[in-house]
């Protein structure tokens, strides 16, 4: 049996391990901020990555198109049935919108929690080792993206921005195991029921909405959207649908399981919502404030 490690190598290995532990400790301390060299690396690698990812998105797009073309007949039949109701609903929506503007004018209220400026962007990579649910998108601070902004697809909310560099940003998906990831949400019904989305059930792949006042009636099938009261997300981004309601560990508040409206795999184009109303670092930004002891 030859000697696996000679003395010199053993020393190098030991020094390596020490340096490694020091580096890990150093970078774990402050993961939500990238220093200048880190930002430079992220931007350069991000640029290279987008050269590879954009053609890949094009190819998957073509395949998806062919796939949808095969279902066109069925889909067309279904859509035609819905089209009849659509026209009347659109007329009603236009009327309600106009009414809303008029009423806002009367009470002289300019700010709207719902208003946001969408920043369109492309997903350039997903964390390959998948211990954390992270995406990197191709828009950064130069495009107006900021930390804690909501990220969504056409279907609904998918996550929030946790780190920005000039030309890329890192997005953490709501399907994360990170317990500091909170979204102020509400159940839409005859009366609005507020709560917090906290945590993700891995087995059933559903979101968990906690701290719902037990005096309110939440039923299966109700829609959940962001409430805008967390300080950073705009109001009214679709999150999902309630599938199950129970009480929390202490029996004081209700807890609801929510099936997310958006699909978290195969993401290509996403939208960052830059809220128009004043932004405060509240619940939605819990990631940056609570976790770091109010820095």
């Amino acid at each position: 049996m030859p000697r696996f490690f000679s003395n010199k190598r053993l020393i190098i290995l030991l020094v390596g391990v020490i340096v490694l532990v020091a580096l890990i400790a150093f970078s774990l301390r402050d993961r939500n901020h990238a220093n200048v060299p880190e930002q430079a690396v992220k931007d350069v690698v991000g640029f290279g990555q987008s050269l590879f990812t954009k053609p890949a998105h094009f190819v998957t797009g073509v395949i998806k198109n062919i796939d949808t073309m095969l279902n066109t007949y069925e889909e067309n039949k279904r859509l035609k049935e819905r089209l009849d109701t659509f026209a009347s609903m659109q007329a009603e929506l236009a009327d309600v919108k106009a009414n809303n503007v008029k009423l806002r004018g009367i009470i002289d209220k300019q700010e709207d929690l719902r208003a946001y400026e969408p920043i369109q962007s492309t997903v350039i990579s997903r964390n390959p080792d998948q211990w954390e649910e992270k995406l990197i998108i191709d828009k950064g601070t130069t495009n107006g993206v900021g930390v804690n902004m909501a990220v969504m697809t056409a279907q609904g909310l998918i996550g929030k921005v946790i780190l920005t560099t000039p030309f890329t940003s890192t997005v953490e998906l709501v399907s994360t195991e990170n317990s500091n990831f909170r979204v102020a949400a509400m159940v839409v019904g005859e009366q609005e029921v507020y709560g917090l989305i906290e945590g993700f059930d891995r087995q059933s792949r559903q979101l968990i909405m906690k701290r719902i006042d037990s005096s309110f009636d939440v039923k299966k099938g109700m829609t959940v959207t962001s409430s805008g009261l967390g300080g950073i997300f705009p109001r009214g981004i679709l999150i999902g649908e309630v599938t199950e309601v129970s009480t929390d560990d202490y029996g004081l508040t209700k807890l609801a399981y929510i099936r997310p409206a958006a699909n978290f795999s195969m993401l290509d184009h996403v939208m960052v919502a830059k809220r128009s109303a004043i932004v405060v670092d509240g619940t939605d930004g819990g990631n940056s404030v609570d976790a770091k002891g109010g820095r």
Partner: protein, 173 residues
């Protein structure tokens, strides 16, 4: 020309990994399976076996740092694991016959080792709370299957290419 092909393939594989992870997790019968692309390390093991251990070590170190800074935001995980895997596989391949099939098997074993190491790190710094059984069924086995497909498709090509470069270098280029 082939001189630049070797590092170029390493870079291409580095950029391909996150694209393939966009497809994961895949849902089959209501269970989700995670496929972790480990293309780069397979290629580095081939370099370590057929070309030079030092070269593999160096590529592993540089690309490991980039991987950590770009994806993980913790510097030191892959910076450590990639060179370690290269070193260990080079030490093993010295003891055994250097046939393509053995190197392929070795890269599968090393993927398992890399996954176990990364699971260990992830549980230590509390990135994950999954237990070992779940890790085994939902991550390790699908990952090994998916990567064995990759090794089967490209392993022979890698070997040919790297050996070509090696003989060229022996000739004094």
């Amino acid at each position: 020309m082939i001189r630049f092909v070797i590092p170029l393939i390493a870079i291409v594989l580095f950029f391909l990994e996150p694209i393939f992870s966009l497809f994961s997790p895949i849902e089959l019968n209501d269970t989700f399976y995670f496929f972790i692309p480990r293309f780069l390390i397979v290629y580095l093991i081939f370099i370590a076996s057929y070309y030079s251990r030092k070269r593999a070590f160096f590529y592993g170190l540089v690309l490991g740092i980039l991987y950590d800074m770009y994806h993980i935001d913790i510097i030191g995980l892959y910076t450590f694991m990639y060179p370690l895997i290269c070193y260990v596989s080079a030490s093993i391949i010295r003891q055994i016959e250097r046939r393509t099939s053995t190197v392929m098997m070795l890269s599968l074993v090393m993927i398992v080792m890399l996954e176990l190491l990364s699971y260990l790190f992830a549980s230590i710094i509390a990135l994950t709370s999954i237990d070992f059984n779940e890790f085994l069924t939902s991550r390790l086995i699908p990952t090994v299957i998916a990567n064995s497909l990759f090794i089967g498709m490209f392993g022979y090509m890698f070997k040919q290419l790297i050996e070509k470069r090696f003989s060229q270098k022996q000739a004094g280029f």
